[in-house]
């Protein structure tokens, strides 16, 4: 399964990339890491990942807009929003735009693994 990681924080991108190597998850190949929505769309078109982790607060194009664009390209894309924005309205908006799950920052490795397992199972 191919994964695209979208987050403006390098520390978070690297942490997600390490965590998805956990043996409880199906084999996941990180095919790209993007720091904003514009770069994410280019990488999504290039690599065609089935799975995306998506931050929301990013420069140039935010995660809600990017989620909408990615699901218009591939409605089957499984997008897990990983964001600190903790109000209900934002989560609902992201889900309405096509996200399949929402994980709040700060997260533990276990919480990320559980969220990804729920998404891919």
């Amino acid at each position: 399964m191919k994964l695209l990681i979208v987050d403006d924080s390098n520390v978070i991108r690297q942490r997600i990339a390490r965590t998805v190597a956990d043996p409880r998850l199906p084999a996941i190949e990180v095919v790209g890491m993007a720091r904003n929505g514009v770069a994410a769309i280019a990488m999504f078109n290039l690599h065609k990942p089935q799975l995306v982790t998506m931050d929301l607060t990013m420069p140039e194009m935010d995660g809600v807009q990017c989620t909408e664009r990615l699901t218009s390209i591939d409605p089957a894309a499984m997008i897990l929003v990983v964001s600190a924005l903790s109000d209900k309205a934002t989560a609902i908006k992201a889900l309405q735009k096509g996200a399949r799950g929402f994980l709040y920052k700060p997260f533990t490795d276990e919480q990320l693994i559980t969220a990804l397992l729920e998404l891919v199972s």
Partner: protein
């Protein structure tokens, strides 16, 4: 302009406590006070991250932390590169996470911009919004960081 309400301060205290507890399992010691009107400069402990706030609110959420504390947090996150770039990235992410978590209370009208990060003295920080911002001191593993809450509802 009135001071922040107790429940508004609690939102930020809870957010910063939760951040450290989630990442490291060690809860920090947290105490708060209003910044004096004469303290014109924000605290500058080495690396700082500022989140500009807009929408139905104005002001900023600002975090400043020393290098050693951020390096320790990177280790907790299993990040092997302790470059200045990653230290800045992390302090911005801490500020972003605390501000984002506060939207659980303040709602989506509290719009959050991407972090502005500063190494060294934070001389470029814009003037404060409130006469008396609230400053939360975080002590964790012998290190001290500071969180400045300087937000207000727009009229």
């Amino acid at each position: 302009m009135s001071d922040l309400k107790e429940e508004e301060i609690r939102v930020f205290v809870d957010a910063v406590t939760h951040y450290f507890a989630q990442l490291t399992t060690d809860r920090p010691q947290v105490r708060g006070a209003y910044l004096g009107a004469g303290d014109v400069r924000p605290p500058s402990l080495g690396f700082s991250g500022l989140i500009p706030i807009s929408g139905g609110f104005q002001g900023s959420v600002y975090v400043s932390a020393p290098r050693a504390m951020l390096r320790h947090l990177l280790v907790a996150a299993q990040e092997s590169s302790q470059s200045d770039e990653n230290l800045l990235d992390l302090v911005g992410e801490v500020a972003n996470t605390i501000a984002g978590n506060a939207r659980r209370f303040f709602g989506e009208r509290m719009e959050i911009a991407v972090p502005v990060t500063i190494a060294g003295h934070a001389d470029t920080i814009r003037p404060r919004c409130r006469t008396r911002p609230y400053i939360i001191t975080v002590e964790w593993k012998g290190y001290t960081a500071q969180l400045v809450v300087d937000i207000d509802r727009k009229e």
